[in-house]
Symmetry: none
Subunit: 234 residues, 4 copies
DNA sequence: AATGAATGAGGATTCATTCAT
DNA sequence: CATGAATGAATCCTCATTCAT
């Protein structure tokens, strides 16, 4: 019984998140309302608040789930690559394929990138650069889903860090770069290339530039940004 | 008589925009409410709607004003530079100085970058890459303030295009790049470096990275992105 | 538990409708504001929107309730009449008595006669003249209250149709008339006799005609309109 | 100069009324806003208030102008008829033709039928049934346009009264009717037949009745209402 | 006569969250 | 766990009218 309940609970939770995700994809975070999620998930509004303490937390859960899914695929893909260069290419490809394969999920992710979670005064907590995120960090974060998201973010950045570090050793990445900020910037650059912000979108439209072309140009630029000076690679 | 009124009207308009700008800076576009703007500007709500047909239009006006101010300074600065390399440096510096000098204004600008204006079906209008924005484009945009903003955007991108084109001729910019998409991407990269999106911000905090350091790293990366392969320049 | 809640809910719903009805009677549909209804019903505005999706729907609910009440009485009264002639007289009397007995309710009804409900594209739905309104029609009407109203309208018209049909058989109604349009016209004529439109009201005032006299004249005219040519009836 | 001014003034007045009329036809009285009228008439809002003391008065002016136009045509047509029966037919035809020829104007008229003018306490004024409307009545009505409308209404009703009186003499109208209330009712019946109120409209739609058919039925009924018992006329 | 900036009360509706059942 | 009725502050926007110029 307990086990059965447990499973049902997990199912419900995921169902709710599925609906929320779809709504975020369609109408943005702002446009996703608790009432509509409840209706579409066929539960009472109160039930939503049994599973998620508030809207922000629900968003965090959805965000974390997407981030995790992407990261796991990235880890797999990168694991099957022989060198850093291929790994970088592979992880980038994962994002592309994800966008193609799960357009709604990607669309939700894109919206969630812009969301500020009420992380209160977490700033103080961070002081540790080592990679044991689960263990020593985020313990004071009240919201479990937000904590999960932060952990997921961290895992992702450290996955990339490892790859880039290897890239430096193998010579396909400029050696003088500071890894972590570089990774963070590269990641944002990738997202901005895939999903230009309104300002950039206006300009692209005004100049009649095909989004896919923009994406190619942007990718080329980011590659040059980290490539060693004399690199002949493509 | 007419002149006096004219001036008074312009003043009021600017006063309203000043208030709105400040509120956007402090609480975001969403947090800026027409009621509060009216109260702080010491006018009736109805008066706001005499000057601006709706909130969106007011935002567009504020956005256009900031964009214009920045562009004008950039034009001046770049005009006083002898070569493209210096011009690029100067225009970037303008953004930095602007941020420093007018933190509120900058903050509002940052928020407005994310705002979608109701630009209906403008897509059709664009088909002209030449630089006569004022003359041949945007005539069908119903909202004057939004039209002004689009024109301002275009002027800015064409200013940068001229500089980058010169840069290619002078050899400080990679010659094989496609100018316009590159400029748009570089511009967004600069903004993302200065004002990381929530997602990036979380990561920076989690990794305990100083925003200013992040900015330096990001700038270095963007420079490498457009620099010719064998360039020795710094 | 459930039952108690159920009852309480129904009560509240009716309370709200009572207030709305009274306000419509006093100030017209336009003058009835959601805020005032909420205040007088001693509930929060939000509560109104729990029970009625919008103002229009609330009006429809009030309208349907009145229509139903009148129709039920009419059915009872007409059932106790031996012939069609008496039935017609009785149903007309019901309207008179209703107006006398529930002046506010009647007054609200009068206002609601002029209200356009957002019935979208219902036109398509109608194609069935048989009398199974509840069963086969109106299924696509999104708003339940509006649907109820339409069903009520239909029930009323079919009640009258049956009576008039009987009247033709019994010879007190002209046999060559087309029943349904006649009934609809007769009904409007009755209402216009009871509650002259502003235009008619002005004329009555200008000619110094007593409304009750006007009513009598109008009733006499409508009787002649459907009476067989050679009828001696009064 | 004075004459020229005079004419220009009259033109302006009519232009404004034209615009107002069109807007009433399209969006109803409520939907016609002074601001939009001013814009479309290419005058300042203030100018509207130079010509019409308020919205209600403007509506009254529009209403009176339409009423007058219809009445004048009716007078002409009825003058050219040899007997009352033909006159009645002719005056009814005038309404039909008017509707066909000036659909916008008619549409506006239909809306204005429902408008209550602020006639304050005019009730007291009426006490005179003789036909010298311009001379002895309405002198206390503050608003000239409303007064014009009332006078127009009265002229119309007296035109009809003369025709019906003749009809009685000629035997085509029941002799026992009370003329004035009958005329008022007949007039409203005609309008309701041409432009069913929302309530009737719903029913017509629900029963799938063609408006033109409804109109025919309604006209037939009204004819019977006033026809002498044994009349063989059609 | 003509202008049009200014008014501001007032409208309908939304929505995250709570809590008694 | 689950429910869903209740909340009520908050939002954007309208529009007839006035009055100083």
């Amino acid at each position: 019984m307990s086990e059965r309940m447990e499973r049902r609970k997990k199912e419900r939770r995921n169902e709710i998140m599925d609906i929320a995700e779809k709504m975020i994809a369609q109408k943005g975070v702002q446009g996703m309302t608790m009432k509509e999620v409840a209706e579409k998930a066929d539960v009472a509004i109160g039930t939503l608040y049994v599973y998620f303490k508030n809207k922000n937390s629900l968003c965090a859960a959805v965000n974390a789930r997407i981030s995790k899914q992407m990261r796991v695929i990235m880890e797999e893909e990168s694991a099957s690559c022989s060198n850093a260069c291929k790994k970088i290419r592979a992880t980038t490809a994962v994002v592309f394929e994800f966008r193609e394969k799960y357009p709604d999920r990607w669309s939700a992710f894109k919206e969630l990138l812009l969301l500020n979670y009420d992380t209160e005064n977490i700033n103080d907590i961070y002081s540790n650069n080592d990679f044991n995120p689960e263990i020593n960090d985020f313990q004071d974060i009240s919201d479990e889903n937000i904590r999960d998201l932060l952990i997921e973010d961290k895992k992702m950045s450290h996955l990339m860090k490892d790859i880039y570090r290897q890239g430096i050793q193998e010579g396909c990445i400029r050696s003088e770069i500071d890894l972590m900020p570089t990774i963070i910037f590269m990641r944002m650059a990738l997202f901005m290339a895939l999903e230009p912000l309104p300002y950039a979108q206006r300009m692209l439209e005004a100049e009649n530039i095909d989004p896919e072309h923009f994406l190619e140009v942007a990718l080329d630029l980011t590659r040059h940004a980290v490539r060693p000076q004399s690199s002949k690679k493509r």
